[in-house]
Amino acid sequence: MAYQIQKLSRFIAQNPALADLPFGIVKGLPITPRQALDMLNRGESVAEVIQAMTIAGMNPPQEDWRLVEAYYESLLRQPGPKPKIYSIGQPEMTLEEALMHVRLRDEKGQEFLKSYQGMLNEMARRMK
């Protein structure tokens, strides 16, 4: 467990922008690297947290849907002017609209899911 704590501590220190992104499900809820570290430090759900770290970036699709939804919800809680999502060929989209598409799991929502899966892979690579 000390090794996992060391890995997570290093990840959070080196990648602050990724420290609060949902990457796995523990006790039925999405958790972030920072929450995972807190849980390990408290000795809480250790096996589940380590399992979530092990399969990061390779979660079952149903879990990825929960993660991407939690991600956009967390973006909407952030302070300051909210950026819009632009694409050459489509009207710009607000973060609220992005979350709506994710919840509907429509074509656009699928694209956001794939895009978030790309980021999960990057997180997993950096967590190793």
């Binding site: 602050p16 909210k82 999502i85 632009y86």
Partner: protein
């Protein structure tokens, strides 16, 4: 045979997305014009008739084209269709193309290479970015367009298509690394889309294709005005170097 050291930039601007592309393509035009001849068709001049005429008269080896697109279609100003998988892309024979457009890397780009284009850079995904304000001052958007322009800049320096692609991928990775260290509350949204575009970038055709002979870029002096200037037509002239 297309002329080495000659380029055609197509720069529509009619909505927020193309405004961003237009702004950053101006930067690429300024850089490339230090090394190669550039004709830029901007805003209302980014039409099919003008593109056809420029391909005929200048016979450019390099085409850097912005516009809305889909897997089979590239469009310019006001979404006028310029070419499709089934027609129009045969005019790219012997040329190197950089398409800053959504999803053209799915069918249109490989089809163009099959019809004789030397090399085509394109995106197999919707090219997306995040921004919060105008292109001139938006700090979120810069990394996306810098990484695309890295292809154009490298080609203008005489690098091969494969080398240009590697420089561009290094630029995507550099921006991703920088944003992961950020405490900006929306840094993760930038990273998410940087990864998306990086992973969707494709190079088809000859990896050894060049648009000009290799040269060592001269150092840029502070305050220096790059010469020769690109040929810009129409309203685009008013926006260049703003």
């Amino acid at each position: 045979m297309p002329k080495s050291g000659v380029a055609l930039f197509v720069m529509p601007s009619f909505d927020k997305a193309t405004e961003y592309g237009f702004y950053y393509m101006n930067k690429a035009a300024q850089y490339a014009s230090r090394r190669i001849f550039i004709r830029a068709l901007g805003i209302q001049d980014a039409t099919k008739d003008n593109i056809d005429a420029a391909l005929e008269s200048d016979d450019p080896i390099f085409c850097y084209w912005l516009g809305h697109g889909n897997p089979d279609t590239y469009t310019a100003q006001n979404q006028e269709v310029i070419m499709m998988t089934c027609r129009g892309n045969e005019r790219l024979i012997g040329r190197v193309l950089l398409l800053l457009s959504c999803s053209c890397g799915v069918n249109l780009a490989p089809d163009s290479v099959q019809k004789g284009a030397l090399a085509v850079f394109a995106y197999a995904v919707d090219f997306t970015w995040v921004a919060v304000t105008d292109p001139e001052i938006d700090h979120y958007a810069r990394g996306f367009f810098d990484s695309v322009n890295a292809i154009c800049n490298s080609l203008a320096e005489g690098k091969t298509a494969e080398e240009a692609n590697m420089v561009s991928l290094a630029s995507w990775n550099k921006w991703i690394d920088e944003w992961t260290k950020s405490d900006d509350p929306y840094a993760s949204a930038v990273i998410q889309n940087l990864i998306h575009d990086r992973d969707g970038q494709r190079l088809f055709g000859s990896p050894s294709a060049r648009i000009t002979t290799a040269i060592t870029p001269p150092p840029v002096e502070a305050g220096e005005i790059p010469l020769p200037l690109p040929i810009i037509t129409g309203y685009a002239l008013s926006f260049l170097f703003l």
